[in-house]
């Protein structure tokens, strides 16, 4: 019996507390400790993925008790893939963000790392667990650390944004908890597989319906689906860079994973698509989220806020795709979890590099960036192409599956929204490129050209090397995942769905 599923979670957890203790002795020790523990976690998650591909689903009994009594980690192909994604992105981000953390939270960097590790522990646990209540506790760890870390950002606005996030987040988590209560009272169990075995014996129960919708509402609030998204743009915009880099790609995607897990493993697709008649409405909701997110992104004048609205838009893709009710749509949604996490990570990495050099990322400050930070901007352009959906990059392939699924389900409005959003993203990013590339520095009216010499020579001033290397790795991954998306679909997603 190997212990990788436990090490996956325990390594960063132990790392967090050792980093916290080490900070009292020597503050500089906590960063390497954090890095080592995340590397260990990534290693364990890759091993788990290998094992799952080779031998099928891995079960790990916490405290050695058999599943319905104790808590079980049940890792199948979907979890294993998302686990690798989460742990590797968290590790790469920590590698890239050393300077950003020093810059933004200089006197409490050690505590920042501890909170960061706990955040990652929460995300990994949410993905790995097979127990409904354990999921709630882990969601709360993730949320509590993200409230804290968001509040560390912008001195003026971040605490308020974080408090709003907290209120809405608590409502979401409580709805989820209540939904679990409804399921528990009618089934008497908390283990996902066990519940899934009992639910078909209770046809037409209003309690199951209410429990399902409450769980779904809670998860939607946490993932910021359109009418419930109000906390996201402010929260992510004012968060410190090192944290927004990890929360933007992972938090919403992990919640999408939770939704898919609830749909497939707990309630079963048959119950959702045959018994309930919600899928039409939810696909419409996804459509509206896409269009709304795109339009709001167009209206922004701040790069970071614009990217936050793109996240709202992308959530529409995944929710709509998962609720199309056919295999293609679900495949697209799951593939998009991976792709969107990578694309958003690349975008926010580039953004973090820009923020490191220029504090304020209003559009008016961005001119001349291509000359100043060519490598960062190269990564940014690649990620932007991926978001738009230009073929060699991975964004194209998941969109392709989603559109095929939409046509198969007859949801033409969803397909149209996907295409429109590509168009909007194209307009959006080319606007940014234009500002960054063509407008020469110091010509805008907002600039008070105080340094006197207005010569057009732009000095190259790049971000730290670690950040650039990470951005390079992720950009490569964008293309590789795009090229090998067929392999991913055939070895992981389709076997999981069947």
């Amino acid at each position: 019996m190997n212990n990788y599923p436990a090490i996956l979670i325990i390594a960063p957890l132990l790392g967090a507390f050792f980093a916290g203790l080490a900070a009292w002795i020597q503050e500089r020790l906590s960063y390497p400790l954090a890095l080592i523990s995340l590397a260990l976690s990534t290693f364990a998650s890759v091993n788990v993925l290998m094992e799952v591909i080779a031998n099928g689903t891995v079960h790990y009994r916490m405290a050695g008790w058999a599943p319905p009594m104790g808590i079980e980690y049940r890792i199948d192909l979907l979890n294993a893939m998302v686990l690798v994604l989460v742990s590797s992105i968290a590790f790469l981000n920590l590698l890239a963000s050393y300077q950003n953390v020093e810059q933004e939270t200089h006197d409490r960097a050690a505590s920042f790392y501890v909170a960061y590790l706990l955040f990652v522990v929460g995300l990994l646990g949410v993905v790995a667990t097979g127990d409904l209540f354990n999921l709630y506790v882990l969601i709360e760890i993730t949320s509590l650390t993200s409230y804290t870390l968001v509040a560390l950002g912008d001195r003026d606005r971040a605490p308020l944004a974080s408090l709003n996030y907290l209120f809405i987040g608590v409502i979401g988590a409580s709805f989820y908890l209540l939904g679990v209560g409804y399921i528990y009272i009618i089934t008497g169990s908390l283990n996902m597989v066990d519940v899934a075995g009992i639910l078909p014996n209770l046809p037409g129960s209003s309690t199951v319906l209410v429990g399902f919708i409450l769980c779904l509402l809670g998860v939607w609030i946490k993932m910021a689906l359109f009418p419930l998204h109000v906390w996201l743009p402010n929260g992510y915009t004012y968060a410190p860079t090192a944290f927004s880099r990890v929360v933007a790609p992972l938090m919403t995607k992990v919640m999408v994973y939770v939704m898919i897990r609830l749909m497939i493993t707990v309630f079963g697709l048959e119950y959702i698509f045959v018994t309930l008649h919600l899928s039409e409405a939810v696909v419409w909701l996804g459509t509206i989220a896409i269009v709304f997110g795109g339009i709001m992104a167009l209206a922004q004048k701040n790069l970071k806020k614009m990217l936050s609205y793109i996240i709202v838009c992308e959530i529409g893709y995944m929710v709509g795709g998962a609720w199309l009710g056919n295999e293609l749509g679900m495949t697209g949604a799951i593939l998009h979890i991976v792709n969107d996490a990578l694309m958003t990570f690349a975008l926010f990495l580039a953004l973090g590099n820009i923020v490191y050099k220029i504090k304020d990322v209003d559009y008016s400050n961005l001119s001349g960036l291509f000359g100043k930070m060519p490598w960062t901007m190269a990564g940014f352009v690649l990620a932007a192409f991926s978001i738009i959906g230009v073929p060699p990059t991975c964004g194209f392939f998941s969109k392709w599956y989603l559109i095929l699924g939409a046509f198969e389900a007859g949801a033409y409005h969803f397909a149209a929204a996907l295409l429109i959003s590509s168009l909007i993203c194209a307009v959006l990013f080319f606007k940014v490129f234009e500002i960054c590339f063509f407008a020469p520095e110091g010509n805008g009216l907002s600039h008070d050209n105080s340094h006197g010499h207005g010569d057009p020579v732009i000095v190259m001033d790049e971000a730290p090397v670690a950040s650039l290397v990470t951005l390079g790795i992720v950009s490569l991954a964008l293309i590789l995942v795009g090229v090998y998306s067929g392999t991913i679909v055939n070895t992981i997603i389709l076997p999981f769905l069947r």
Binding site: M1, N3, A6, I10, L13, L14, F17, F18, G20, L21, W24, Y60, R61, M62, A63, G64, W65, P68, M69, G70, I71, D107, R108, S111, F112, V114, A115, L118, V121, G125, F133, N134, V137, L138, E140, I141, L144, T145, Y147, T148, A151, L152, P159, L178, Y182, Y184, I185, I186, T187, G188, S189, L190, I198, S205, S206, T207, L209, V210, G211, I213
Partner: protein, 274 residues
């Protein structure tokens, strides 16, 4: 906003009421919730773990993994208060009281300082003469509160209570000291470093016991594999493991409660407060 709130509340309420129509009756011994898992716990837990308090048995053993994260949540709260509020800059305004005469001096200049000793003492801005009755009663009470807290932790296997409750009670004895005397008295006795280290050590004890179980060849947190390490009856090892993790929880919670209180009441300066 009020109207919108009212509409949302009414809609949600109706929806939830609809859900209750199908619930089993309150107190129904035959509801599914009371049959499936619960019967196993009630009938087997004592035989399997030798702990008569079923809540502790389920909390620290069957669902011990949950409880570990619950402790981590508490630790996170303490960390959050530290991260958000801690302010290392000393205050510019300082107040000193001349003990023999009772005159309070207010210093606005940072450079000037008085030596605190028998003649002068540093006081809070809103200084009130300390009350003899309150001080004496609290001084007598605090050791008893702490003993009671230890009892609650240690006796969690047999009666209501456990690490969390005991930790909160222990932490509240610190808070009582801060309220009845002042914050400086508390900070002199338990320093910030002490609290910071204890909050992490508490959770480490929990995770560490789990990790040791893993090293010993069992699953994570499987206390039964600890048996070769301790000279006790192997049947009792689970109860002992639970006691160990409860102590860890108690230490972490105690420290975190004090950290939260100190940071909130002094707005992160750790100098004066309620």
């Amino acid at each position: 906003m009020k109207l919108l709130g009212f509409i949302i509340v009414c809609l949600t309420g109706t929806f939830l009421l609809y859900g209750t129509s199908d619930l089993p009756d309150w107190g129904d011994p035959n509801s599914p919730a009371s049959l499936h898992l619960s019967n196993h716990y009630i009938e087997k837990a004592v035989a399997e773990t030798e702990v008569p308090n079923l809540v502790t048995a389920v909390l620290a053993d069957y669902r011990g993994f949950d409880t570990m994260f619950e402790t981590a949540v508490v630790f996170t709260a303490g960390l959050a208060c530290f991260l958000l509020l801690r302010d290392f800059k000393p205050k510019e305004d300082r107040y000193y009281r001349h003990v023999p005469t009772g005159v309070v001096l207010h210093f606005k200049d940072k450079a000037r300082q008085l030596r605190v000793g028998t003649e002068f003492e540093a006081v809070d801005k809103d200084w009130v003469p300390s009350d003899m009755v309150i001080k004496t009663v609290c001084r007598i009470l605090i050791p008893f509160i702490q003993i009671y807290a230890l009892y609650v932790v240690a006796h969690g296997d047999f009666s209501p209570g456990g690490g969390f409750q005991g930790g909160v009670i222990f932490g509240s004895s610190f808070i009582l000291l801060a309220i009845s005397y002042n914050l400086k008295t508390l900070m002199k006795r338990v320093s910030e470093k002490f609290l910071g280290i204890f909050s992490a050590v508490g959770v480490l004890i929990y995770v560490g016991i789990g990790a040791i179980a893993m090293v010993m060849g069992g699953n994570f947190l499987d206390y039964s594999t600890l048996a070769p390490l301790l000279p006790v009856n192997p049947g009792h090892i689970r109860a002992l493991g639970m006691l160990g993790v409860e102590i860890g929880v108690g230490i972490a919670v105690m420290a975190v409660m004090a950290i939260i209180y100190i940071n909130i009441v002094s707005q992160g300066r750790h100098d004066e407060g309620l």
